[in-house]
């Protein structure tokens, strides 16, 4: 039973285990194991998780968002991978048409042309920055809506590692560029 109770600590969010895990384990080791304690630990872990869905009431940034539990940096790396083809294409296009260095773009053009001209390939290249933006921003952003004294208040909280910030800024730039490209090609 004690092993089960200690296992149940994993239900708590990572930030909670980082802050209280060690002393909580210490306390659980001192307490007599029982089904009541197991249920108490599970219930309270779920409560903490539910509270994590609401905007934090803490000041001074004592608590990281539950986004930390969602491995934001891993998702930022995934976002980088998703927008890599678009980034490459846009960078080389800018090099050729803005800076005047045509070599790299001309080198990949034969390989890229079938992808860019295929509807699926084009859709992927245009939408990839938006997908990357969501992958990098959603895990580190918490939106809150509350109805207080007859007024609706909305809050946005962001706790983003540097990598996520870089990916978000890059994806916004790329998304803007690809939107202009799409408008120029289709309208």
């Amino acid at each position: 039973m004690k092993r089960l109770i200690l296992l149940a600590i994993r239900i708590y969010p990572a930030w909670w285990r980082t802050r209280y895990g060690d002393e909580f384990v210490g306390l659980l080791r001192e307490e007599r194991a029982s089904l009541n304690i197991l249920l108490d630990v599970i219930t309270n872990a779920l409560k903490v998780r539910l509270r994590g869905l609401r905007p934090s009431t803490l000041s001074g940034g004592q608590r990281m968002f539950n986004g930390v539990d969602r491995h934001p940096q891993l998702l930022a790396v995934l976002a980088l991978a998703v927008m890599l083809p678009t980034t490459l294409l846009v960078t080389l296009a800018v090099l050729k048409y803005v800076v005047g260095v045509a070599g790299p773009f001309d080198a990949i053009e034969p390989a890229m042309t079938p992808i860019v001209t295929h509807p699926l390939g084009e859709t992927f290249l245009v939408l990839a920055p938006y997908a990357a933006l969501l992958l990098a921003a959603v895990p580190v952003t918490r939106l809150g809506l509350a109805w207080r004294t007859g007024r609706l208040s909305a809050t946005i909280q962001v706790a983003a590692p540097a990598l996520n910030v870089v990916v978000v800024l890059t994806s916004v730039l790329l998304a803007g560029f690809m939107l202009l490209y799409w408008v120029a090609e289709n309208l």
């Binding site: 209280y20 210490g26 306390l27 307490e31 009541n36 108490d40 630990v41 309270n44 903490v48 000041s59």
Partner: protein, 103 residues
């Protein structure tokens, strides 16, 4: 703080923790024993740490340096003020209740 008071109003574990810490700093195990003794309430460790987390977040208690996986907590000044206000409020309510049931 007004919002935090509103949230805590019906939350007994938090009040029990504050009352326990009013006697001096205590770690989790000592709090559970003390609370069981003065209130006959047997809080679970999860409930206790739920209360500790909220009270710490609201600045009513604060941790002291840990040793051997035991972290003592103590009331902050805001915690003492809050407990005093709640105690006086409860005293007033108990007074009203006693008057009404004995008349």
């Amino acid at each position: 703080m007004a919002g935090a008071e509103g949230r805590r109003r019906g939350s007994d574990p938090s009040i029990l923790v504050l009352i326990s810490l009013a006697a001096g700093p205590r770690h989790g195990h000592a709090m559970l024993r003390d609370i069981a003794e003065f209130s006959q309430s047997h809080l679970g460790p999860g409930t206790l740490y739920g209360a500790i987390e909220r009270l710490e977040a609201d600045g009513l208690i604060e941790p002291l340096p840990s040793a051997n996986r035991r972290t003592p907590y103590r009331l902050t000044r805001a915690g003492e003020d809050y407990l005093g206000r709640r105690a006086r409020e409860l005293e007033r309510l108990v007074g009203v209740a006693l008057k009404r049931v004995t008349t």
